[in-house]
């Protein structure tokens, strides 16, 4: 009986709520449309056009009252045929995956102990994680150059103490590049993991111990599965920027560290071949959409189980 007056209310509510909801969802949607989808379509259009001397032709031209479309798919074909691009993509994904894996290995124990440390000490520890962001990223990467160079701090110290007789080549190797990327992206792995682990109900671990699980078993059976969404979030946040990373490979990488970001740069600025560069970029975006889709799926599953 009492539900009748509420119902007429809820219709009104539903209308206003749906408008409010639309506006709230709409603003980021419009933002994404303007700064992501539109530029992407422009890039996609460029990738389908042909070079004409130093400039590229328009895909659609207007003459005699007709619109002429000239879709040029040669770039995609050459991308598929040229083994260099394929290898570069593969190598980018490989380095990004390696960086993500190392970040996860380092960040998980760190985030775990951060989340389990006394509540009053956590802000200070979190501050330490974010401290590097206070100095310029470029400066910090340059600092690694100083540390790792043949006549750098590490080699000099090791030689001074007689640990090595001649400098170990560290700079411009896969080692130095992956080190730089791990160093740069580690906080992006720690923070989502911490956010996830700190929310965990510790009584679940007690329940596991009570049922006969050793602390180690409880960790693998309860903590890790329950932090799956945090692992996924951190991995995506590290993996995606790493695939397209340009600055770190440029500064710390070498001939063995082929990264798609550098190829992009070369196509745009050295070869001035914008359509080819755009093609490389489009394929890279597609390459990144796959892990994001996997991530969203895992998030959705996590939410269905009552945890985010």
């Amino acid at each position: 009986m009492t539900s009748t007056p509420f119902k007429s209310h809820s219709l009104f509510d539903r209308l206003t709520v749906s408008w409010g909801r639309r506006a709230v969802i709409g603003v980021p949607m419009v933002f994404l449309l303007l700064v992501f989808l539109l530029p992407f379509l422009v890039v996609f259009k460029i990738s389908l056009s042909e070079m004409d001397g130093v400039a590229f032709k328009d895909v659609a031209t207007w003459s005699n009252g007709w619109v002429h479309f000239q879709l040029h798919v040669d770039n995609y074909l050459s991308l598929a045929q040229d083994a260099l691009y394929f290898e570069t993509y593969l190598s980018s994904v490989k380095f990004a995956a390696l960086t993500t894996a190392i970040c996860l290995l380092l960040a998980y124990p760190f985030a775990y102990f951060l989340a389990r440390s006394p509540a009053d000490r956590r802000p200070a520890l979190l501050m330490l994680v974010m401290l590097p962001f206070w100095t310029s990223f470029l400066l910090r990467v340059y600092a690694w150059k100083m540390l790792l160079a043949d006549a750098g701090v590490f080699n000099n110290l090791a030689m001074a103490y007689g640990l090595i007789s001649e400098p170990v080549k560290m700079m411009n190797t896969p080692f130095s590049m992956v080190l730089g990327m791990v160093y740069t992206y580690l906080p992006f792995m720690i923070l989502p993991l911490y956010a996830n682990l700190v929310k965990m109900d510790l009584r679940l671990l007690e329940a596991a111990l009570d049922l006969g699980a050793t602390p180690w078993q409880a960790f693998w059976r309860i903590t890790v599965p329950l932090s799956r969404s945090g692992i996924a979030a951190g991995s995506v946040l590290v993996f995606i920027p790493c695939v397209g990373e340009f600055v770190i490979p440029e500064l710390l990488g070498g001939p063995q560290t082929l990264m798609i970001g550098r190829v992009l740069w070369d196509e745009f600025f050295s070869n001035n071949d914008w359509p080819m560069a755009a093609t490389v970029a489009v394929v890279m975006v597609l390459l990144i959409i796959v892990p994001v889709a996997l991530f969203s799926k895992s998030r959705a599953e996590g939410r269905a189980e009552g945890r985010v």
């Binding site: 111990l209 309860i222 329950l226 009552g306």
Partner: protein
Amino acid sequence: MQEGILVAPHSESQPAATAVAAPFLRIQHIVKKFDDVAAVNDVTLDIQQGEIFALLGSSGCGKSTLLRLLAGFEVPTSGNILLAGQDIGGLAPYERPINMMFQSYALFPHLTVWDNIAFGLRRDGLPKPQIEERVSQMLDLVQLTAYAKRKPHQLSGGQQQRVALARSLAKRPKLLLLDEPLGALDANMRQRTQLELVDIIHQVGVTCVMVTHDQEEAMTMATRIGVMSEGKILQIGAPAEIYETPNCRFVADFIGSVNLFQGVVEVDAPDHVVISSPQCRHYVSHGITGTLGMGVHVAVRPEKMVIQHTPPLESERESPAEVGCNVVQGVIENLAYLGSLTTYHVRLDGGSVVKVTHTNAARHTLTPLSAGDRVFVWWCGSDVVVLTR
């Protein structure tokens, strides 16, 4: 079983059964300190096999800490815990033959009902067919077979509670610990579940220690109750014993409600005592462990009092000696009609208030009492408990 024969009706000490059979669980002088504050302060307790023992107390009284000491989540500062003769004090939680049903259950959200129940069995490395058999037994026991593939969040509160019970019973523990077992259920569900839970525990035959702050829950489910306050157990006994013969003011006040009269012992005979208090003279028809002139409290339960417009007739009194005693006068300040009973708050002439409950046995009374009426409240000398602490 022997307890009933060996124990005197008003015995305040532990049942003499301790001398007959070695207790199944012995807690000896357990102390647990957190930063020099004793949460559990020198508790000694014996629990027989098959008992359901309830630790009852308000929050912060140390009952949960005591339970966690039994489970192994806390290490005692001093004292021993013996289970079936074995000292389990040094064992980790996962090494103890004890399982716990957690408050609000702590079911694993990422595992199905089936996997939740199988969790402990798998840790024991039981062969697969045996695990399957045991889990289906447990599902049967709690009547959740149809829900085996569900995740905990897809179940109602009552169903989650049963999964938690099944999970804690699956390993056939020697001792089952229940932490506020029905605390997360609404009042309606609770009453039904109390008896259901006792039924299952009896079916399995497991010894059980439960913690609760709900006296009704403790009295419904437990064979014996230990009332705790400030880290100590004040009284141990069967529900009726705790209610009818509280051994101190805290217990009398905590279990049910009680009217307390402060007074001084005036006559101390082996078969009766007379205590004078500002409100009235109390004739108590049993001896007490006190001395002449000692300050004591006389405790009378509200339902043991009679409230009426006229003074009690001599013929109504238990003995002629009570005439002029155990009766007070006052004005009904307010009353609450609760259906089965009515509660009266009577402001005595001396200024203090007594609470009287009257069972509404008849639909209509000839002389209904209403607020503002001047009334007599009286009681029998045998229904009184004299508290010396």
